[in-house]
Symmetry: C2
Subunit: 245 residues, 2 copies
DNA sequence: GAGAAGCAGACTGTCGACAATCTAACAAGA
DNA sequence: TCTTGTTAGATTGTCGACAGTCTGCTTCTC
């Protein structure tokens, strides 16, 4: 028999597609932080009953980008400066760990994939497609986590990434100029190809820190604005989180 | 008006209670790894319809202790030696980070809570209650993550803990003698109260390593046994994970 | 007897309807 | 005018039933 490996066919349940749709809507900022998701309306728009929609929402709640309050509703999570700070500081630790694990596993296929993803970022930058630029940049950074051969690490990073992507989208959407960021990733890629692991680790930490400071400042300005009243329609969940212990 | 703070009342939806029930059943080993969860049977036993049960199961899938295959069923995750290895190595990194964050925040309340949880472990040990011993030991180790004031870290650790608790339960259930482990935590607690952060960090790494080796050896022996046939009724999910990208 | 086609049976996925709960507007009383 | 009780509307939580899919057995053919 032939040695051809077939890729598994796509999961074809309504629930899975709803999850993908909702996740994309949230991560690209089409659904704003704090916004309430009306089950009936969304179900009608998607031509789906509420059952699979609700199951999809439960998944996204556990994924950390939605939050649910019993009998009140399900909301897109609110972005606080502290959340961003927390996520980034943990991300640094994970990056360092991922580089350590990936380092001895690097091979030609790794370098090729690294270049491919780097090229995708540059392409998105040329196209002035900010949404895609965020996506591709995160995919570039995700390579070390995928390559590290530690499923728990990968899973953790992906969860963190969801949130970071949300924050970035919020940020990018807010600022006027589409995007400057010419080629910050150049050094990152070069170091990952090099021989000095420590250098790669500390650069990852530095580099991430840069975008971060700007994002954090933006988040803080948002909070200042919000706290001065004018809370708009973004219903503020005031009760406890649904996560039981 | 008075300054009394009321705690938020308990979330009282069937779904939340089902989640708690199922999680406990899985973490204590009442539901074995690989076992399939029959929706109809469980729903009848709990006197609940399938809707909230299914939603609860979606949450636990995202929590990482169940795995779902469309049109085939939902299963308790299988424990592989690699999973344990992955989880533990990440756990070390997280512990180190948590100690770093917690260190400057330690105060009298921290030390009191530390002693309280340490005492709970010793009590469970005296009672020869292995399940509770696992629970309390993990709670003791969780304190640094709770105290670190980083919600993302805490969430990540709790997710990891779920899995570790499962593995521990499996292990404890298997070995004959109830439990030796007199007071390994004594040093850990003392170092956390001390002045040398590095020492505390490296001890956390060492200490965790101990239990780990034993657990890992057990997992490997399990896999050897399984691969020699006799796969029992534990239906092995052979298709792809449901997690779409 | 071996292998393919077809056929129940069981189970998961989805739907529409009902029950429980919350919110906000309104009325009544001090 | 402020507080409290009431009520209607909207929304979420739950239920029972139906449809789609998989699995294992049976049957038929060679």
């Amino acid at each position: 028999m032939g040695k051809l490996d077939f890729a598994p066919i796509a999961d074809t349940t309504r629930r899975a597609e709803i999850v993908a749709l909702l996740r994309r809507a949230i991560l690209t900022g089409q659904l704003e932080p704090g916004q309430k998701l009306n089950e009936l309306r969304i179900a009608e728009q998607m031509r789906v009953s509420r059952a699979p929609l609700r199951e999809a929402m439960r998944e996204l709640v556990q994924e950390g980008i939605l939050t649910s309050i019993p009998y009140a509703g399900t909301f897109v999570i609110d972005v606080t400066a502290k959340d961003i700070d927390d996520a980034y500081s943990l991300n640094k630790v994970l990056d360092e760990f991922a580089i350590e694990l990936t380092w001895p596993l690097r091979d030609q296929r790794f370098f090729d994939e690294l270049d491919r993803r780097h090229e995708a970022v540059k392409q998105a930058t040329r196209d002035r497609d900010t949404t895609r630029q965020i996506e591709t940049a995160l995919q570039l950074h995700g390579l070390i986590h995928e390559w590290a051969d530690n499923s728990v690490l990968l899973e953790t990073w992906q969860r963190l990434t969801s949130r970071l992507q949300m924050y970035f989208a919020l940020h990018q959407r807010a600022r006027k100029e589409p995007v400057p960021d010419e080629d910050i990733h150049e050094t990152y890629v070069r170091l990952l190809k090099g021989a000095d692991m420590r250098a790669a680790q500390s650069h990852a930490r530095e580099h991430i820190g840069l975008d971060f400071e700007e994002l954090l400042a933006y988040a803080r300005s948002l909070e200042q604005r919000d706290s001065k009243g004018a809370k708009a329609d973004r219903a503020g969940p005031t009760r406890n989180r649904p996560e039981a212990s």
